[in-house]
Symmetry: C2
Subunit: 132 residues, 2 copies
């Protein structure tokens, strides 16, 4: 649960951040690994460790896919979605109904909020028809 308490930003952390900035979309650690691998030399473990720190710095956000893979991205591009429990496909939602609530929560609680995840689950039209 606890990474070593960071002192300053390390080269690896910067590299990971840069990669995320460059690719502009949520990526898993493993994908980051193969993507960065071609450029510099970095270990998978280091990527995981860096992601952990960057998250605690409030710089990146995550979401967990249906298969259990964690995707990381720069904070801001909040994009929520509806995910089908059958085919696993995710359909993006372009609005966020939680912004105001989050602001309110920030004011009223001592918890330091960086980001949130919102996901709807159910069946997409084809699957709803097909499954039962």
């Amino acid at each position: 649960m606890s990474n070593p308490s960071p002192t300053r930003r390390t080269p690896a952390q910067n590299a990971v951040l840069e990669a995320l900035r460059h690719h502009r979309q949520p990526m898993s650690a493993q994908v980051l690994y193969s993507a960065m691998r071609s450029q510099c030399s970095i270990g998978l473990a280091t990527i995981y460790r860096s992601l952990g720190v960057l998250q605690k710095l409030g710089l990146i956000q995550h979401r967990v896919t249906r298969k259990g893979t964690t995707l990381y991205s720069l904070i801001k591009h909040e994009r929520h979605c509806m995910t089908c429990l059958h085919c696993g496909q995710s359909f993006p939602i372009n609005t966020c109904p939680v912004m105001e609530f989050e602001a309110e929560l920030r004011r009223s609680s001592s918890f330091k909020i960086f980001y949130h995840t919102l996901e709807f689950f159910g069946l997409c039209e084809p699957c709803a028809y097909q499954v039962f």
Copy 2:
């Protein structure tokens, strides 16, 4: 991704449902396993399979913890939370700011929504102080 298309409710599925109903709180497959094990004889794989089907029937919901474990519970007891990225503790939130949005989404889209998850991430007060 895809379980076999269910025909009717199986004994195992009913047992899992009953266990969830009885324990009244989100449980992982593994915990369900050891809990049910003492009562009846059931395999872990069967539990996973049953959970998958029950989910598609719109009977249970899930959320993934910070450690990657999936917790299942009966649909309704929606309880969202704020999770600390450092210590991993989750603090429940008692209201849900998404209900109305979900209803709207149901009307406007052909996706069949069963439930949603909402989670805020950041640092709890002690950790925010301690980490940096």
